[in-house]
Amino acid sequence: MRDVAVLGVGQTKFGELWDRSFREIGIEAGLQALVDAKLASENLGGLFLGNMASGGLLEQEHIAPLILDYAGLAGRHLPAVRIEGGGASGGLALHQGFLAVASGLYDYVVVGGAEKLTDVPDSTASQIVSSTADHEWEVVFGATLPSLWALVARRHMHLYGTTREQLAHVAVQAHEMGSKNPNAHFRNRVTVEQVLGAAPVAEPLGVFDCAPLSDGAAAVVLGPLEGARRHTDTPIQIRASEVACDTMALHHRRDVTANDATVAAARAAFSRARRSPKDVGVAEVHDGYSISALLAVEDLGFSEKGRAGPDFASGQFALGGRVSVNPSGGLKAQGRPFGAVGVAQVVELVRQLRGDAKERQAPATDLALAHDLGGTGATAVVHLLARAG
């Protein structure tokens, strides 16, 4: 296996992009990444595209060749593959791209993630989002994705004394970072009082505990680390790319207040990179719901089990804290175009490691972590990134 680097990144604005089509945003992110990587398209080996639900959302399946075609590359007859894993589709696509380059079979690939959630009514989009849980044994009985995370939140509060106020701090921090990110869906700051006073979605979670339904796309160019400096002054090495899965339904988990898939993927990633959670300076973690962020920092090893609430509330995960968590604003404020999320996390971390993150730049660090999650945690993807020495 050979070392793999990120050579270029691209991303569209996230949000309600009513004037832009799926193919437009998909191409924009990919072409930005190709230009950033200074990669001639004749050297491109293929496209891996993360997308959760184009069929339900756009009545369009078979989207990988569609994007390749409108990127002007149909005539090269390159392989283009769509990858689906619910909310973790983007992270999974990145894993596939990593494998393709690491194996030596492909030299340069584009990994994209794209989703368009606002071309259908919110109720339809929410149904599709809920189908990333177990339809037959959860959704049929009245569950939605936020309601399942609410069950996690209530249990976490019961076992560890986590409070509504602590959960609110996750949203407050996310919006603070979103205000510094020109691509973010939400750029307004919010207060703990606003979060607590928002309309309930599934108690104890309210509107501000839930990430929005967004449109958006992100892309990276991957290539072999050897020779990467022909493309960029600051190649970012993928030190580990790990995927782990767990039971489909929340009710079958060993412990609903932990995502064992995250624990397994993180353990494998740290072991492969010969590093530990203490080495991570900046991280993009799954905060589809405020409680998801708490589980993430516990399961990744940044907080002791049960301590994530107080740790968030005391600013340990704010910019410049013990670990700078979600400098992009996370899913909560940067936005949640499902299939694009896992790729956008890596785009942000590459900017952080290059020192290009401007107002939201975290202190210099040599290790960054991306954590992407599907459903209530049936799929978890962890990537470790570092500046190449």
């Binding site: 309601s147 599934a202 079958h252």
Partner: protein, 161 residues
């Protein structure tokens, strides 16, 4: 949802029919063909026997849902819970016959057979389990029909000659 897709699950949704592993004794709901907990999980193939849950359980976590799942819009706000059964499996279902404010973690409940949702005015009606509170001295639920209902309808009594 097509009629067949819901109909084929009725033994589970109406009667709480699960499975038990003959190798390690683990009970699964819904039933499985392979045991998820056996160390040598391949050995459990073909050894999973039908097993009926009692329908009793305890609330492990709950939420009051305000933004409903499809088909549940008329029921908001409704209580959704994780219910841990004494046999082992945890089920996701609604808690009914109680004010949302009275539901707490640890509340003893019992399965009850109810209408889940309808597919519009002319569509299929989905039935299945929900849960209602049960007390120590009054194990019967306050209203509704207790689950599990018999696996098969009992034969009608013969008229006496």
């Amino acid at each position: 949802m097509s009629i067949a897709r819901f109909w084929r699950e009725t033994p589970r949704r109406y009667n709480l029919g699960g499975s038990k592993c003959a190798t390690c004794g683990t009970v699964s709901f819904p039933p499985r063909v392979v045991c998820p907990t056996c160390t040598h999980h391949r050995q459990s193939i073909g050894k999973m026997a039908p097993f009926q849950l009692s329908g009793e359980g305890e609330v492990e976590s709950f939420t009051v849902v305000h933004e409903a799942a499809e088909g549940f819009e008329m029921q908001v706000p409704y209580v959704l819970a994780l219910v841990r059964t004494p046999e082992g499996p945890v089920l996701t279902g609604q808690i009914v016959d109680v004010e949302p404010g009275e539901v707490a973690i640890g509340l003893p409940v019992r399965a009850t057979f109810r209408k889940l949702r309808e597919e519009g005015k002319a569509g299929v009606i989905h039935y299945g389990y929900k849960f209602s509170p049960r007390t120590e001295d009054d194990p019967a639920p306050p209203r509704g029909r207790t689950a599990p209902v018999p696996r098969e309808a009992p034969a009608p009594e013969r008229a006496k000659a």
